[in-house]
Amino acid sequence: MRSPVNLAIAAAAVAVIVLATAFGETPLSLSRLAKAYLFAGAAGDQIVVWEIRLPRAVAAFTVGAALGASGAALQGLLRNPLAEPGVLGVSASAALGGSLALFYGAGPVSGFTVPIAAVIGALAATALLSAAAIQVRSIIALILIGVGLSSFAGAVMALLLNLAPNPISLSDLLSWSMGSVANRSLTDIAFAAPFLVAGFAAIAASARSLSALSLGDEAAAGLGVDLARTRLLVVAGAGLATGAAVAIAGAIGFVGIVAPHLVRPFVGYDPARTIVPAALLGGALLVVADIGVRLIPTPAELRLGVVAALIGAPFFVWIAAHRGGMR
């Protein structure tokens, strides 16, 4: 945990979160920003920083961290750097769960409704994938199952859009499916927090076993790994964390593949040591992407999920094409 790599990425994450609060409709100079943070600035600045921009940056970081950790854990379990909540259809299933909750207007009943629905969607997908993983033993087949899950979830989402009773719910659903952290409050994060904490805890508990899985299921079992328990921890952990992330921001892909890939060389490719820096970097990357969303001059503000996919999808193709000999 206290390795130089983690400290460096954590420091960078804090820096970009602070930096992110300087950007927006009214750019704030560093001195105005500092005063607002110290409650010494104009009242308007303080509200903008503390109640709008900081929650948004924290939401982006939280979502990225959840996806980075989920990606690292799924990759460790499936022993493949291409495994990721988005690619495997977990994010789409979570988004479907959340959309169904929105569509049937359950939102106002309790703040927990959408997070719970999203987590259920994500858990259903991870459970199905892990059951399939035991059966098929091939990552290609597994990714194809993920593609199928994504397509199915996408189709049902399209059906919901099709059936949306009025333009307001249509735009709700659309913004959900594109992914964004704009206008997120600390309350939104708080409702997702219990699921995030549980997810991170489950993933952390599986970490050592993931190292042993480097040598294959059979060798890991011989080393004393409880395979069933490890699988359950990762499936539950990635499901909870991804579901919570989707509940906050909608479906955002590829963070879970980019972040672990970048940190791996710095931790000796050890799956256990990949998780924490992948979470920190995933968070930082999404904060940076969310700054990009605001800086790129477009008529309508770009959606974070769109930007993440525009950067992440080519990266995914690149990793897939360069894997060469490693199975």
């Binding site: 294959g216 080393l223 004393g224 000796g268």
Partner: protein, 260 residues
């Protein structure tokens, strides 16, 4: 003295009877070669002995404790299991791969300390890996990789070693190197069982040969007693001639024996 005992073990997967009522005991300081045709149930027997597969009937015992009453970690501290080698999923270093042998003791991959460091250092030295301990395992030759997996098993310091085809696909030098390491491991006090296809190497290095056919043990004894043309015919359906030069056997396979 450690004893690993299989007592009337049978294993059925679906309709297939993989192991039929096998009773066998493995002891410390003894290297046992498990031989037999492909599909004879050798790997399944080894997995039952390792506690990774649960027999359909019968049971495996370590000393007098049924294996299935031990936790995975307690079992792994007593039995080192070396499955047929497959590539590692990640290009971890040689030292990290060996350190995984200490998983059951809670050792993290980096910064080994105390007993873990002693065990890992010793295993690396024994297997001649000191020069390459910082190399990534995806850059190693087949022979080096086999030595890494051996070192991983030795680092566990378990009194029992079960190895599934540890010398498959190695060149002659590599085969001799691994067999010598396992022999030395047994001489140092461990009970070792290795699935082998090379009968000559088995006869040379092992104290005992256990012969399997169709899920059953059909011969069990010293190489001198059991390595005969008759046993080879019974186990492999192949005619052979065997010449002994002191303790070295020379086996010539002549032709398949048509099934009756």
């Amino acid at each position: 003295m450690t004893r690993l005992t299989l007592n009337s073990v049978s294993l059925q997967l679906g309709d297939a009877k993989i192991i039929r009522d096998v009773t066998v005991e493995f002891r410390s300081k003894e290297l046992t070669a498990l031989v037999g045709a492909n599909g004879a149930g050798k790997t399944s027997l080894l997995r039952c002995a390792a506690g990774i597969e649960q027999p359909t009937s019968g049971a495996a015992f370590l000393e007098n404790a049924p294996l299935n009453t031990l936790t995975p970690v307690a079992r792994a501290r007593r039995i080192a299991y070396l499955p047929q080698t497959r590539g590692a999923a990640w290009p971890i270093t040689v030292r990290d791969a060996v350190t995984l042998g200490r998983f059951a003791y809670g050792a993290p991959l980096h910064e080994t300390s105390g007993d873990d460091k002693v065990a890992v250092d010793r295993a690396i030295r024994q297997c001649g890996l000191a020069e390459i301990e910082t190399r990534r395992i995806d850059t190693l030759s087949g022979g080096e990789t086999a030595r890494v997996y051996c070192a991983r098993a030795f680092a566990t310091e378990a009194p029992v070693l079960l190895a599934d085809e540890p010398i498959a696909s190695l060149d002659p030098g590599g085969q001799l190197a691994i067999m010598s390491l396992i022999r030395a491991h047994a001489d140092a006090g461990a009970g070792a069982v290795a699935i082998l296809h090379d009968l000559q190497l088995a006869a040379r290095f092992a104290d005992r040969m256990v012969w399997m056919r169709s899920g059953a043990v059909i011969a069990d004894g010293s190489p001198k007693e059991t390595l005969t043309a008759q046993t080879i015919a019974d186990v492999f359906d192949v005619a052979s001639s065997i010449a002994w030069h002191d303790d070295l056997a020379q086996v010539q396979f002549l032709e398949p024996i048509p099934s009756a």
